[in-house]
Amino acid sequence: MTAHDLYLLAPPIALAGVGGLVVLLDLVTRRTGLVAAVSLLGLLLPAAFALALWGDVNTGGAMAGVFDTLVVDKFALFFQFLVLAVVALVILGAADYVARFQRYKGEFYALVLFSALGMMLLAAATELVSMYISLELTSLPLAALAAFLRDERSTEAGLKFLLLSAMSSALLLYGMVLVYGYTGSTQLGEIAQAVAAGGQPFGSPAVLAGGVLIAAGFGFKIAMFPFQMWTPDVYEGAPTPVTAYLSVASKAAGFAVLLRLFSTAFGAVSLDWGMLFAVLSALSMTVGNLMAMGQSNIKRLLAYSTIAHAGYILVGVAAMAVREPAGSEGLGLSSVLFYLGAYAATNLAAFFAVIAITNRTGNDQVDGFAGMGKKAPVVSAVLAFSLVSLIGIPPTAGFMGKLYLFNAAVRADLVWLALVGVVNSAVSAYYYLRVVKALYVSSSESRATVPSSPAVRLALGVSGLGVLFLGIFPAPLLGLAEAAVATLLSLR
């Protein structure tokens, strides 16, 4: 451990410091806004360190450190910025919700920050054991957050999340041990050499089983078919801000580590797992969309929608795996990164609108949104706009994201997968537009307006404008995504 290692770890360490400070502060103050403000402003510190590291990486290239267990490159920093942005918005958007808790407000923010710490490390980890530790650091606080309300539904959500995440961790670990046993190393780079030297498809049956088990383990985290069973129950029972956090940040971190592991360690045998992800992608989209149709609870509906979106994002993963023609290398990877950013803005906007409305009405059902177009015009407009973005209609971030993803698939000769994606997007319009219909067409008896607090409105405004901005000017984020994947591509 050298001073340079500490510098590489500075963003996560700073975040851990902020989390600890928030817990301590909660002990000495009763002011509700102060704890939230400190955790929000505290995020500037890790962001500043990450920005400094980005500058260094820009001039000097990727930096490995801490006994070669993690690397700071643009790929890792891209996800660290994404996680920090999501956490900031979630803290803002949760302000109303947290005000309802009797106790443990500080712990709520601290758990959100500690989980974000795990996600930041996850994006940078290049060694199997540290990947596992960061993954657990992400999951355990999320399980506690899901059970945070301590009523029947919330504890049920926490229990289901914990049991299934522990089971998936065990599968993941067994896969990791098999890969370690065959290659004799837990470093991704050394695993890649051993796998490439193996000669057979996927090196050996041990590595094949290991790869499948690892894919299964991460499949739980990103809510991919056939490991999606926990998603609807946990999303419905957990506090809504936690659901928003879970659906965006946890998924992004899961994809970060999935992309790094498979493109680095198994890069030489990518054709073998590319088709696996292509098929799982098609199944995820279809199952998610079909199941979403019958849902009457908005959180459950968005849970099935998130399964479908895991499928759309996997289109890019499959496109990355199947050898891309010269001139479009990295298209799959960069489209995945872009889509994760676009999806974060869109889904957060949708969830904040749901928080703003259900916090007053206390009704999670789609019917409860009847007539909201008149009662809460701004919130309803943002909700409708983000749902349109989830379908993928211009001028929204979701449209641009899907355009890049399906383009990558077509370039990589996966036309059938792109077609499945397009058909699925069209099918998904049915249930998203049902919510829009409830907002604007259905009427309700009461005429009372539904007010929302400034913090929620700010979070809603930022994420809503993000959706619009990415839909009209996708170039800045796409440029960042392309810069981020360049480091991963150079390893192939």
Partner: protein
């Protein structure tokens, strides 16, 4: 004793754990079964670290002394970390089980199904 014996033991342990985790109704027993799965991983990791020569050492036999500590013990370090994290997982799991028990008076998984329809 060869590596196969240990791997066989670990596969048997893992399968028993997985079966228990999927079929048992009592949450505490499910947590114990998951613990069994983690321990199967530990057996495999320690056995691998004893029997498999790391790729880096196979290629380079001159500087073994340094490399041994860093690489030959990887599996044992792996197992240590798994034990620690599994303990944290069970602590949180039991805390949630207590919260579930307080809110509805049972830890039977088939009764914890408010949201299934």
């Amino acid at each position: 004793m060869s590596l196969e014996n240990f791997l066989l033991l670990s596969v048997v342990l893992f399968s028993i754990g997985l079966y228990g985790a999927l079929t048992r109704r009592n949450v505490v027993v499910v947590l114990m079964s998951i613990e069994l799965m983690f321990n199967a991983v530990n057996v495999a990791a320690v056995a691998v670290s004893r029997y498999v020569t790391p790729a880096a050492l196979r290629a380079d036999t001159t500087s073994i002394a340094d490399a041994v500590v860093q690489r030959v013990l990887t599996g044992q370090v792996f197992a240590l970390f798994v034990i620690v994290v599994a303990a944290a997982e069970v602590a949180l799991g039991l805390a949630i089980v207590i919260a579930v028990y307080r809110s509805r008076g049972t830890v039977d998984l088939t009764q914890v199904n408010l949201m299934k329809r």
